[in-house]
Subunit: 169 residues, 2 copies
């Protein structure tokens, strides 16, 4: 039985939640090969202290290992947020034929927002792209995460000021 894009995006959202639960920006990705999940990953940049540990890039690395091939033929990558230039580039490098993403990233998205890297005939690969699958849920995750982050920062600042005032008294 073939699963729907929504089914797989739900799993990518679960991955994103794993990132959020450890203080990482909640972005998740999974790669499906012949209707089987072959890899799943979530953003780990702060934890790993490694700039390239975005969800998509790690999912691609795992998938290459799994298939023992740098060409990820017959695969679809599901990712909660529109890929950045690095991850869009990694998708091209690994020849993933189909890309499904949730929310657009107006600041760094390179599939529709700032560039359309996955559909440039000058590269040696182009992708079939579906956007907007569970977009609202995927975007809400990020909105909530950054709202909480701002609130925590504000609270921290308030407590610091309070401590300073107490010191002065």
């Amino acid at each position: 039985m073939k699963h729907t894009d929504e089914y797989y995006m739900e799993l990518a959202i679960e991955e994103a939640n794993k990132a959020g639960s450890i203080g990482e920006v909640p972005i998740g990705a999974i790669i499906v090969h012949d209707d089987q999940i072959i890899s799943s990953a979530h953003n780990l940049r702060e934890t790993s202290k490694n700039a390239v540990t975005h969800a998509e890039l790690m999912a691609i690395q795992q998938a290459c290992e799994k298939l023992d091939n740098w060409r990820l033929e017959n695969t679809t990558i599901y990712v909660t947020l529109e890929p950045c230039p690095m991850c869009a580039g990694a998708i091209l490098q690994s020849r993933i034929p189909r890309v499904v993403y949730g929310a657009r990233d107006a600041k760094a998205g390179c599939v529709h927002s700032l560039y359309t890297l996955l559909n440039d005939a000058r590269f040696n690969h182009e992708c079939d792209v579906t956007e907007g699958v569970l977009a609202e849920q995927c975007g809400q995750l990020l909105t909530d995460f950054f709202r909480e982050l701002r609130a925590r920062k504000k609270e921290k600042k308030r407590l610091r000021k309070l401590a300073e005032l107490q010191d002065e008294l």
Copy 2:
């Protein structure tokens, strides 16, 4: 003593040669931090069967480990060929301030040739880019590699045809 760009590019070329000697497309990269080499890598896509094992991307990963930080401040990356979208994106993600490359890549280069990803004010990072350092040497490596590859393929084809003819006799 501060070394010149040519000095470091020579070392990137040595890395590229390591790739060429094992049948990989000869591209090499090194990262320098405060005039110290902190990482060096060469393209390993065929050997690793992993689409993301480009010289720059691996050098960036190693440098993050070395500095224990995803931000590669005060670093310069030297790479023999103009970075592809994935590697240009990884350079942006790791906030490398300065990029020096050798030859242009008219087919996939994303620093000057197809895009200027490292100098787009919409991203949260821009790089100081120097191109053309030892460009001829860097490009010649690739020209020689692909010429040999074609010659080997042609010879293989010739031998196959010869074997077929012998079978027919």
